[in-house]
Symmetry: C2
Subunit: 119 residues, 2 copies
């Protein structure tokens, strides 16, 4: 099993993150090494802190109104290796080691498996 590597964010760094009217920030998840963009999901402040502290990705489900830890039931866990915030502080980029089949609930490795213009 991969090892969790918590990230010690400073209060100044955390204060740079701005949450929308629903208290959420978009988090892009990218695979370490391949650079593949795996998914986008939403975090609130508590799930961001939990992500950094546990080294696993925690999101806020807007439809279910609950926290979820990616892969907790499926085994397709994400181990956080790097985490960035953008110039506006309103988007996060989480670089992970992806365990299992991949990030998508369909069984695909990435959620972005369908291209415009493809047959």
């Amino acid at each position: 099993m991969p090892v969790a590597t918590p990230i010690a964010a400073t209060p100044e760094q955390l204060a740079r993150v701005t949450f929308n009217a629903d208290g959420l920030v978009a988090a892009i998840v990218q695979e370490q090494g391949t650079g593949e963009v795996l998914m986008l999901a939403w975090m609130n402040e508590a799930s961001l802190r939990r992500t950094l502290e546990t080294g696993r990705t925690w999101f806020w489900s807007r439809s279910r109104q609950e926290y979820w830890c990616k892969g907790e039931t499926s085994g397709d866990r994400q181990w956080v290796r790097e985490a960035y915030y953008d110039c506006d502080g309103d988007t996060l980029l989480i670089v992970v080691e992806q365990e299992g089949r991949g990030a998508c609930h369909t069984g695909e490795r990435s959620c972005f498996y369908r291209a415009f213009g493809a047959p």
Copy 2:
């Protein structure tokens, strides 16, 4: 100057995209070749169509309430090479050839130039 390569999306593909209550969908922009995630911005249906038809990235500015074509004034243009929609249809991934200095208005190549935990 790079060449524009329009993408002929089918009506079925366009119909898979779901817009939020504000009529917007999040668009992640990734650099072709390097795989670097450059930025995230928002598109409405018209800017998505314009992006696919012109081969340049068009977004909707929520703060200015207007369309903007990335790099039109700065010269840091993005030439669309591939475009994907995710399993839920609520996020797009646009793969581009980035011209000029980069995607970020600060002069950085990527908007995600600050890492949590970094000194």
